[in-house]
Point group: C2
Amino acid sequence: MHTMRKRRSTISDVAKLAGVSIATVSRVVNGTAPVAQETVDRVQDAIAALGYTPHAAARKLAGRETGTLGVLLPEVAAEFFFPLVRGIAEEVRNAGYDLLIHVASSGLESSLSTPLGEHNTDGLLIFTGRLTDEEITRLYQAGFPIVLLYRSPPDALAIPYVMFENKRGARELIEHVITVHGRRRIAFLRGPEGNEDSEWRERGYREALERHNIPFDGDLVGMGGFDADIARETIESWIMEGLDFDAVFAGDDEAAMGVMAALRSAGKRVPDDVAVLGFDDINSAKLMAPPLTTVRAPIEAAAAGAAQALLAQINGQQPPHQLRYPTEVVIRQSCGCP
Amino acid sequence: MHTMRKRRSTISDVAKLAGVSIATVSRVVNGTAPVAQETVDRVQDAIAALGYTPHAAARKLAGRETGTLGVLLPEVAAEFFFPLVRGIAEEVRNAGYDLLIHVASSGLESSLSTPLGEHNTDGLLIFTGRLTDEEITRLYQAGFPIVLLYRSPPDALAIPYVMFENKRGARELIEHVITVHGRRRIAFLRGPEGNEDSEWRERGYREALERHNIPFDGDLVGMGGFDADIARETIESWIMEGLDFDAVFAGDDEAAMGVMAALRSAGKRVPDDVAVLGFDDINSAKLMAPPLTTVRAPIEAAAAGAAQALLAQINGQQPPHQLRYPTEVVIRQSCGCP
DNA sequence: ACGTTTTCTGAAAGCGCTTTCATCATAACA
DNA sequence: TGTTATGATGAAAGCGCTTTCAGAAAACGT
């Protein structure tokens, strides 16, 4: 049996059945001009009878917009990604757009097959180093609407971008374990290479140390990659080496989970022997053992904000150049608090 | 400053610059017919000079295919979702298609604004109860390529679908805690209403009980929703009620995480007092405290398989009607094993 | 050298839809 | 009652691209 494909019905089919012109059908479908009630009914009956749905591509071609927004994501991995997409999807749908999500493969095809250019979408939400600076610059200069997610624009271009108050959140978090729990050998796990969130968090970490006269120790900084497995390995090797530390700021919550696992299997108690600190406050943070002290980043809200900024840009409005979202320390038990 | 949008260059611009016809440009872009090397060079120079990119919509309109596949997802939630999308995205990209992801809002707009119909895509991967049976039936009857993810087709239509060996996996898992750890008061947490995976897992659970002459007790079945928070609440209320159980099969790993958290804060030890069992073997399963005994479901592979089936269908081939992926019990410590 | 393929290229016809522009009725106005 | 808004509709021009269809040029065969 082969799939015999019915020809999909077009606007002309509807027009014919309803005994009107295609222009009229278009009008009742889009409500772009007054149409007599009787005609409307006739057309709608025809549409129902034929099971007609407008062909998206044709629509896009005729109008000027594509009706879809794109999101460029790095290799899908983080739990972090959920609220992000949820926030964007919500906003985008409400505005009547479609969401085209592109997930980077292994980076091999950087600029080769970037199939999603300015043509498939009306605008782009670009997550972290997914596109090269040149490409971003090119899009910007072509007047293509884009919003950067968690990274600032290259060459100080006036591209809107969303950011969290990473530095402040990190600083407050570290100060908490210093002042309240008296920790002084605090390790930090960096996120992926070139990640701006990570850079700012590191700055916050250093600032906290400085404020309390704790000398910065490069040995206490390692790779976390915002990834549980990477973080775990780092901690495991530190323990093997006998590195001394009484707290670790994992960079993000996922990494924190890996840190806890490593500590646990090495027989170290959290938080008694080592305090563990995360960042983001993902859903599972409160479910960890012990519940994770972290910094809440309003990921979903930020994502929604980014989407709004993009939509605004598309509608010719002037979006804010930077959207900075506040963060808030969330004290649970992994820091030592009861 | 308002965003002054440069007119994007079209195929005619390129043709003019290169001094050829648009047909020729189309040919060199698509490699659909032999073109003299010299001409090719000239056209490519023009393309580069103009920064030309084909307009997707126009392309789709002209050709017959839209070049994009759609995935319909329920309200984004699960970690489970990652490998899923990764598997699909990989496969889809390799085939040169785009991936359009639609995330359900709150279900309100079920059939109202399903903007992604047969028109925006060449085929659809449909996740769990996102579309009504009628709609699926309609698409199927229109000969539109679809593949169902983790649900079987309505009315036994010949729509390809992917499934895991849920029942077998669940049965083996339960039998493990019965035979090896002597548990007899084993609770089960159901997934979302109507979820087929959950139904099969429950069947496996019951089968295991039967085989070991443990009478089924309805009190030991509760809501898990494949969600940590829901599962947690269920367990908390059970503990409040004083319900007696020595193991809980959470339905999936996310729920298991919630179960563990509930148990922990109630002062129960896992696995000593209560064994906890999951399903899926998501990445964080091995990081839980204690590491979770679960059933590994090859989510990514299954997703890739689904994508392949869809692609096959689109290319006029006959895909298998059912793709059933094997599951495998993964013993860690939450069951009581050392 | 002449007929026959093979290469290469352009003209032109759509793909399905939105949108002026123009045309009529009608209804509102003086 | 003549004139002017106003409401409803159709004809037709594209949107940017792919793809026959055909012709011109070059390569081949004998």
